[in-house]
Structures are given as structure tokens and as C-alpha cells.
Symmetry: C2
Subunit: 367 residues, 2 copies
């Protein structure tokens, strides 16, 4: 048999025996049934304005009748763009990122984009692996949070390959560094500074910082810098940060040691809410009352913090909005695919969203 031009639809193709409605029905089948060409059928779905109303209707009818379901794979392969956005977050176990995902999913889906989510668990090695994975899927762009944006091989790679991406939570230097990186975050340092100043305004002088590993989070470092700013501005002693290994386990021993000291702090600034909730419990187990004996200020503004009693005092970030804006910015970059770098170079690369302080609750005057 010569390489003959078969009819658009080969009836003898190895169709699976099982009759799965919608499965195996191709656009060609629909075109055949609607008595139009494959191209026209295609247009009905991708460029409806190019096809006459009546024709479109015939195609739609046929599609419905055959329960046609477009195979996005074919479209993507041919179109050389997947309309998939890769998302890499450290973990979903921290509500911050779960809330962020809500914003991401909502704005991506409503813009007709699909998502592929991976988590890095704050590990740079896993970041590389997961990003490579997203790249193999030919995502059109990425929204991600990396451990350390100022020293990230993954970001370097993305830059090198000119893959459009927008950072979420990671805050790139305002400007002047020449970095073309885009980010959406709050101003970590300034907001932390404000939070700690509120602690100082409440009368606290000995304030300690509890944080996760600095290596796993540039945000934690920036927030610590904000703490330093506030303390220095008030002539108060900057205490060495306490870096706790786990957010999700009791760190009672470390807390006990801190409080046993003659010069125990009267307030804690925790660089994230999850940590703050753990610290509050540890304090309670030590027989200390919050905020009567010790005040605790968190950072993140996860919904759960507002649910507990007393409510967690914290620096609130608009988590869902961070996700939504990151997608929005990425979409803008993807839209102007021509010369994106130049197009919005004037616009600030680092979008800073407003933060808020939620005080009261776990913050009160020193004992």
C-alpha cells in the first residue's frame, strides 16, 4: 500500500474495544459528521469569528452528538504553547501557600490557563528537579517561591533560558541591581520593622526573634533585618535570632532555655504564623500566659490566626492576592511575547502589595 492519503477518519484504526463516550472521538470525526473540513471544525473552537454562524452550529451539534472532547495535547503540540503555568511552592502544609494557591488557581483558570503544581519543601536540590520537570512539560511560564532568590541556581537557569516567571513572596531588590526579575510580595523588611515597632510602642524592650532556617527563606532574613531596624531606631539591643528547625513540632526546650535566662524577652517576633502558634503553645506549657506574661507577634496573616483565642497578632500579607497578582503579571509578560523585557522594563519589577498589622490578641504590654 502506497503512503495513500486516507480519509480524514480511519475507521479501522485500533479503537479500544471498550466504548468510552467522548474518548477517541476526534475533531476529524466531528468535521465528517458536520460535513465540513477539519480546518473549519477547528476554527469553530479556536476562532469562532472566522466561521459562519450556521456552519458553526452544525459543528457544535455534531460535537455534542458525538460527545467530542478536544484533546488539548494536539492543540498544545501544534500551537507550540501549552497555556500551562507551572507553579512551585515550598509546601502546602503552611497555610500561607495554600491560601496563595487559591488566588493562583482562580486567576489562572479564569484566564483560560492550566496549572501544574509542584512543591520544593524549601530544598534547592528539589527545586532544580521540579523546575526541570515543569520545563519538560513545556509550561509557558512559572510562578514560584524559591528558598533564596538572591542565590538561586534555579532562577539563574530560568533567566538563561529566558523562561518567563514571576516570583511570589520572594522580594527582589527594589531596583538598581539591574536584575530583570519580577516579583510580587509585601515589603518584608518594612512591614517587619512596623510590626516590631508596634511591640516597642506597647512597651517591650527585650524582644527576641524566632525564625525558621535563614537558609531556607530569604523572607525570614529580610524580616529579621526589619526587626534590627526597629530595635536600632529605638536604641534597643538586637538579640541573636533563634532559628528553629521545624514549624510543625514542639520546640519547647529551646523556648524554655530562652525564658530561663535572667534576661528573658518579654515579647517574641516570629517570622511566620505557624511558628508563632507553636511558640505560644510552648509558652503555655511552660506555664506562661500570652499575652499577660509574654507577647507574641507573628507574620503572614493566615486565616487560622484569626480563629484562635486570643487572636494571633501578626503582620498580614494578602496571600491569595499575592498569588493572583503573580499570575496577572505573568500573563502580561506572556501576552506581550514579542519584546517583554523592554516592554515593561519601566514598570517596577518588584510589585509590593500592602501589608497590615493585626494587633491586640497575643500582643499586650509587658508584664
Amino acid at each position: 500500500m502506497p503512503p495513500s492519503r486516507r480519509a480524514a477518519n480511519s475507521l479501522q484504526s485500533p479503537r479500544l474495544a471498550s466504548a468510552e463516550p467522548g474518548h477517541g472521538v476526534t475533531l476529524a470525526d466531528v468535521a465528517l459528521a458536520a460535513k465540513v473540513s477539519l480546518a473549519t471544525a477547528s476554527r469553530v473552537f479556536s476562532h469562532p469569528q472566522l466561521v459562519r454562524e450556521a456552519t458553526a452550529q452544525r459543528v457544535h451539534d455534531a460535537a455534542r452528538r458525538l460527545s467530542f472532547r478536544p484533546n488539548l495535547l494536539g492543540a498544545k503540540l501544534r500551537a507550540q504553547q501549552t497555556r500551562i503555568i507551572g507553579v512551585m511552592l515550598p509546601t502546602l502544609d503552611n497555610a500561607v501557600f495554600a491560601e496563595c494557591w487559591r488566588g493562583i488557581e482562580e486567576s489562572a483558570m479564569s484566564a483560560g490557563y492550566s496549572l501544574m503544581l509542584v512543591t520544593s519543601n524549601y530544598e534547592p536540590a528539589r527545586e532544580r528537579e521540579r523546575v526541570e520537570y515543569l520545563l519538560r512539560h513545556r509550561v509557558d511560564g512559572m510562578v514560584l517561591t524559591v528558598a533564596d532568590a538572591s542565590d538561586s541556581t534555579v532562577l539563574d537557569q530560568l533567566d538563561r533560558e529566558a523562561v518567563p516567571y514571576v516570583l511570589a513572596y520572594n522580594q527582589v531588590a527594589a531596583q538598581g541591581t539591574g536584575s530583570q526579575r519580577h516579583s510580587v510580595s509585601v515589603d518584608n523588611r518594612t512591614s517587619a520593622d512596623e510590626g516590631v515597632k508596634a511591640l516597642i510602642a506597647a512597651g517591650h524592650r527585650r524582644i527576641a526573634v524566632i525564625s525558621g532556617a535563614f537558609t531556607a527563606s530569604d523572607r525570614a532574613r529580610q524580616r529579621f533585618a526589619g526587626y534590627e531596624d526597629a530595635m536600632r531606631a529605638n536604641g534597643l539591643p538586637v538579640l541573636a535570632p533563634v532559628n528553629l528547625p521545624s514549624h510543625t513540632a514542639s520546640n519547647a526546650d529551646q523556648i524554655r532555655r530562652l525564658m530561663a535566662d535572667g534576661t528573658a524577652p518579654t515579647a517574641f517576633f516570629c517570622t511566620n504564623d505557624l511558628l508563632a502558634i507553636g511558640v505560644i503553645s510552648d509558652l503555655k506549657r511552660l506555664g506562661l500566659r500570652v499575652p499577660a506574661d509574654v507577647s507574641v507577634l507573628g507574620y503572614d496573616g493566615i486565616a487560622l490566626g484569626g480563629l484562635v483565642e486570643p487572636p494571633l497578632a501578626t503582620v498580614v500579607q494578602p496571600n491569595a492576592d499575592i498569588g493572583a497578582q503573580a499570575i496577572a503579571r505573568l500573563l502580561r509578560r506572556l501576552g506581550s511575547a514579542g519584546a517583554p523585557q523592554l516592554a515593561d522594563a519601566a514598570a517596577s519589577q518588584a510589585l509590593l502589595l500592602p501589608h497590615a498589622l493585626r494587633l491586640g490578641g497575643t500582643v499586650g504590654p509587658p508584664a
Copy 2:
């Protein structure tokens, strides 16, 4: 020009001007560089055992030199299977599902499968929309949690189209109903029964159930049934369930009304931990102490519950494992693509994972 058979690799193809390493390099380029055919190059990656060691090495070298990155789209389209698993969860804002995702991601990725996550927000309409979306992406199968597995158009559709899926959290009737649905969950009714019996053993007689909307969660209904079992078995009065609209807002008014009643309950069984944490706070705001004045038992065993003080007493589900097992079962079904229904019909469709009670903490004897 006749429909001529061009060389495998067309040099005049519209390559984008931008030099993006790895982007645009195809298997054909690699084959050319390695001086083998496209077919051989392909085999090196998909069926290494079919190709001579030395040849494979040449191909690998060329691939590395050109920074070749396989385009999964081409492979998927041709292979007629995507190795993507669709995952639909109600929300990630409830830590139960975030924890479950961890198990899902880990076992899927390590099996070489990709994931596509969508959330339904407990809304059947959105369930349909999101599932259709996953289907268009031609996922090989799905792991999902639906609002109500016993009345789900989405599940009916999946059955009709013979799409392999495994339910997570939704617990299908043990057997006898003839349903071929697969599920991984704990035994909701039995575990709730045990939890409530523990409350009774602690001395409680008036126990109320606080739950989310029954329509949004068959688990909530099953857990309520477990409560009924426990109460009836002990000759205690079954109180009407209190269905709260939101997990993430204060429901203080409803709680106040309940407690104002002359016959206020001495213990609450909340059908999920998030709810329990909210209820505890509401109780505290009413000036009631937990567990001194009122006991609270949750359900889910989210990590956070163990962090608060006092620790949340609860029925613990192995969330990450539910996700991991759901993937494992799905993979088994996908593997034996031939006659899956018959192959493991003997095995229980409904995998019940062990639960555990975590007592103490917010549960004590009645006042």
C-alpha cells in the same frame, strides 16, 4: 512542490530568533548530531535495552551537548497516554487536604507520573467543570474527593466514560451495592463512633455535633451516623446536628445560643478539626474554659491540632497516607489496563486505613 518527504530535521523551520538553550532542540537534532536515526535516538530514552551501549552513549553525549530537553507533549500525544494524574480536592485551605497532597505528590512523582491539581470548593457545579478540564488534558486517571460520592454526577460520568479513578476520603459502601468504585479512607462511621464513645466514657451525656454542611460532605454525614450509633448504644439522646456554614469564620452566635440553653451540652464532637479549633475559640470568647467547662473532640488529626495548647483531642486520619495509597491503587489500575475491573474485583474496592484516637487535651470529664 510535491508533498515531498523532507529530511527529518528542517533547518529552515521558523526557529525563534532568541537563543534559548534547550528550547527548540528536538530529538531529531540530537539524532543528527549523534549520527543515528530519529528512531534510535528515541529508543535511547524510552527503551534503552533495545539499543547498543555505545550508540546510546553517543546519543546521550549529543543530548547533553545540545542541552536537549524532551518535549513531553509529543511523547504524550503519540503514546496516547499522558502519565498525568488529575487530582481534585475540595480546597487546600483545610490542612487535611494539604497534608493529603503531600502524600499524593510524593508517590506520584516517584512513580514517574505528573499531576494536575484542581479544587472544587465543595461545589458540585465546579466539580463538573474541573473534571471536564482534567479530561481535556487527557489525564490517565484521577484521584478525587467529591462532595457526595453517593450522589455525584461527576462520578457517574467518570464511570460511564470508564475513566479510572480512586476516591480519597469519600468512603464507598463496603460491598454488596455492586458499585465498582474504589476509595481510600478511614472508616468514618466506626471511628466517629469510637470517638464519641470516648467522650461518653469520660462521663459526658449531653454531646452535640457541630458540622459543616451535610450536603457538602458525605464524610460529615457518616461521622454523624457514628455519633448516633454511640449515643444510641448508650441510651443517650441524639441531639440535632448544628450545621455551620463556614469553617473559617467565627460562629460565636450559634454557639452562644446553644450554651445559653438550660440543657447545654458538656461536650462537642466537631466533624473536622478546623471547625473544632473555631468552636474552641468561640467557647473561650464566651468565657468558657476547654476542657474544664466544655470538652471538644475534633476529627481529622491535622498537624496543627497537636501544636495548640491544650492539644486538640481528635480522631486522627493518616492524611498523607490516604493520598499515597489512593495514588498507589490508581497506579495499579492503570498498570493492568487490560481488564482492570475483573482483575481486582476480588480485592476490596474500599480500602479502609486505620484511624487513631488522640485524647486528653481538649477532652476531659464534664464540669
